[in-house]
């Protein structure tokens, strides 16, 4: 079942990448990043069947970092919303050369 799990993981990761590249709503892009982290977690758990329990320990770390990232990212989105009144990433180009 490890091959199948890695296949599902790859497909979910690709869907997440496609979402990040094609969507413009900042919140949906954040959720796509969460989907990619979930895909990586799936391969960690799948490979922990082969290489021992360390994979599951890493999943816990990934989840913690994802929670921190969600909190900070959503705070940034809220402060962007206060300036622009929307979260469309096309409007956020202050750093564009």
């Amino acid at each position: 079942m490890i091959q199948e799990a890695l296949f599902f993981s790859a497909v979910l990761f690709i869907i997440g990448v496609a979402g990040v590249l094609t969507r413009r709503n900042a919140i949906i892009i954040f959720m796509c990043v969460e989907l990619m982290l979930n895909a990586v977690n799936l391969s960690f758990v799948a490979l922990s069947q082969l290489y021992g329990i360390a994979g599951q320990v890493f999943v816990i770390f990934v989840m913690t970092v994802a929670a921190a990232e969600a909190a900070v990212g959503l705070a940034i989105i809220i402060s962007i919303f206060r300036h622009h009144e929307n979260v469309d990433l096309r409007n956020i180009n202050l750093l564009k050369g």
């Binding site: 997440g16 069947q49 320990v57 999943v59 929670a67 705070a75």
Partner: protein, 170 residues
């Protein structure tokens, strides 16, 4: 691997991918978030099937429970979800399908409640030192430093989130 196991492994995987596709194609952020929650539940089922029961539990608690609630909270705080797009049930056919699935689930509950389902033979599927023990022992021995650094990271994230989201008062 029994056929039962294989079938359900593929079932949950395919449902997870289908829900992920629906998630990236939805217009409304609220509908997208709910499809993503569905994907995470399927992933939790896959974790449990791959003998990572504790990871499956915290997947439901932390991801589907906490992180997605924060996302939905922000979507509703910023008033981005539009009520008309949130309801995905449009046609009578969809409602009929939903009712059918609900009836099947109800029948399963009744069967589990009334029928005598024999518990599996206990000795064959004993987990050795406990599910959480297996994860906790390396977490607090080999990876103790990373664990402590993670707590610092969480503290920094909390402070950063509060500072960033605070309304500026002059």
């Amino acid at each position: 691997m029994s056929l039962f196991y294989t079938f359900h492994f593929y079932l949950f995987g395919v449902i997870a991918i289908a829900c992920a596709v629906l998630f990236v194609t939805r217009k409304s952020p609220v509908a997208a978030a709910l499809w993503l929650v569905n994907t995470m539940f399927c992933l939790a089922a896959l974790y449990v099937m791959m003998d990572a029961q504790f990871i499956g539990a915290i997947q439901v608690l932390v991801y589907a429970g906490a992180i997605m609630v924060v996302f939905l909270f922000v979507v509703m705080l910023l008033n981005l979800g539009h009520a008309s797009e949130v309801t995905d049930i449009v046609s009578r056919k969809t409602r009929l399908a939903a009712a059918l699935v609900g009836l099947i689930l109800l029948a399963e509950v009744v069967v589990l409640w009334k029928g005598d389902v024999k518990p599996p033979p206990a000795a064959t599927h004993q987990l050795e030192p406990g599910v959480i023990n297996q994860v906790a022992a390396p977490l607090f021995r080999e990876y103790l430093l990373a664990f402590e650094i993670t707590s610092v990271l969480l503290l920094a994230a909390i402070v950063g989130a509060v500072v960033l989201a605070r309304r500026r008062t002059a």
